[in-house]
């Protein structure tokens, strides 16, 4: 039973520590989905630091911001917005797309 208490205590400590880590100052960017297009289609962001990306869906139907390169996948319902936490990214190009709409041209995040 002591081992259980120790393990449970360690798990709680580790979780608290992970959550208590202060978020570094993050640059914010915005992306919109309008019709069958991302606006802008290409976004340049700083490399080596975390960024927050707000994705607004200006359509009435849901969309899904997805990027295999970034390991992110998030649904944004019609008329709403989501926040995606990304990075720190190494310099390079990262493709994203709307997983609910094959017709929507893919976009790119360029980290410099």
């Amino acid at each position: 039973m002591n081992r259980l208490r120790i393990l449970a205590g360690l798990a709680v400590l580790a979780g608290s520590w992970a959550l208590a880590q202060p978020a570094a100052a993050e640059d914010s960017f915005t992306l919109s989905i309008k019709g069958k297009a991302f606006e802008p289609n290409e976004l340049t962001v700083p490399a080596g630091q975390k960024i927050t990306l707000t994705v607004k869906n200006l359509n009435t139907t849901p969309a899904e911001f997805e990027s295999s390169d970034l390991n992110r996948e998030k649904v944004v319902t019609g008329g709403n917005a989501i926040t995606v936490f990304i990075g720190p990214l190494r310099p390079g190009s990262y493709e994203f797309f709307d997983d609910f709409s094959a017709d929507t041209p893919h976009g790119r995040i360029i980290a410099k």
């Binding site: 039973m1 081992r3 259980l4 393990l7 798990a11 580790a14 979780g15 992970a18 959550l19 880590q21 978020a23 975390k50 849901p62 899904e64 997805e66 295999s68 390169d69 390991n71 992110r72 996948e73 998030k74 649904v75 926040t83 995606v84 936490f85 990304i86 990075g87 720190p88 990214l89 190494r90 797309f97 997983d99 609910f100 709409s101 094959a102």
Partner: protein, 272 residues
Amino acid sequence: MFGKRIAAVAQHARAARTVVAAIALLGTAGALAPARADIKIHYPIIDYREFEFEYNGDTTFDKAGSGKSNNQSNVFELGYAPVWWWEPEIEFETKAEPGHNFAYDATTFENTFQLTEQGKYWADLGFFAEYSHAASKADADEITFGPLVQKQMSNILGLDLGHDTLHTLNVLFTKQIGRNRNDATPLAVAWQSRMQFNQYFQPGVEYYGNITSIAGTSNDEATQHRLGPVLVGQYNMFQLGKIKYEVGYLFGLNQATERGTLRWRLEYEKAF
């Protein structure tokens, strides 16, 4: 003549005692053997509004007659995430002990809770809880629960490997409930680290540890440790859905563990 008969009877008695002792020993070993926990990683990130069908399987390899070879498991799962933070799944589990056919083993209600926004904090946290109803009345039902932690890293201790790495840890406790329950609290620890080369190909390494009782009152010799390579990937068909796969080979690290285990996972998911 009479003496020879007595000697023969005594010889048979010794043989019978040996056989009885051997059977008793095997029975004891079987009773003390740990129930095999699922050999798979649970991820804390939920795919909101996605329906998924998942097939997990594994089979073991060891010396013939060891009792540890050809231990097989097939688990079929159906799940859907109605909100971004919760994904319930129903599981249908079949298992085959060495030398036996597959038999239905359990029906499980599995829940994954995503506790933090992906990428917002130092690590992504989730919580796993499942209730497993045994198919056999001789077996006990089980509750399994514990934290899921994931961390995506662009470098490790300052070393840039050229690609991000993804690390996932599961720490799951099990309690048996109802009739035939065992009061021990087994602990299953699973760790996976993989290199994110691209979406199709992500090689990595996995560890699975099964401790039969965290209270140390059970048979510690039955604690199992497995370690080995894994390959993870996915193929996106966009509006037709997505296929994900995992295949790994695990080497047994101690006497209580079989020499090798091949595990695989095939998943189809589609957003609605």
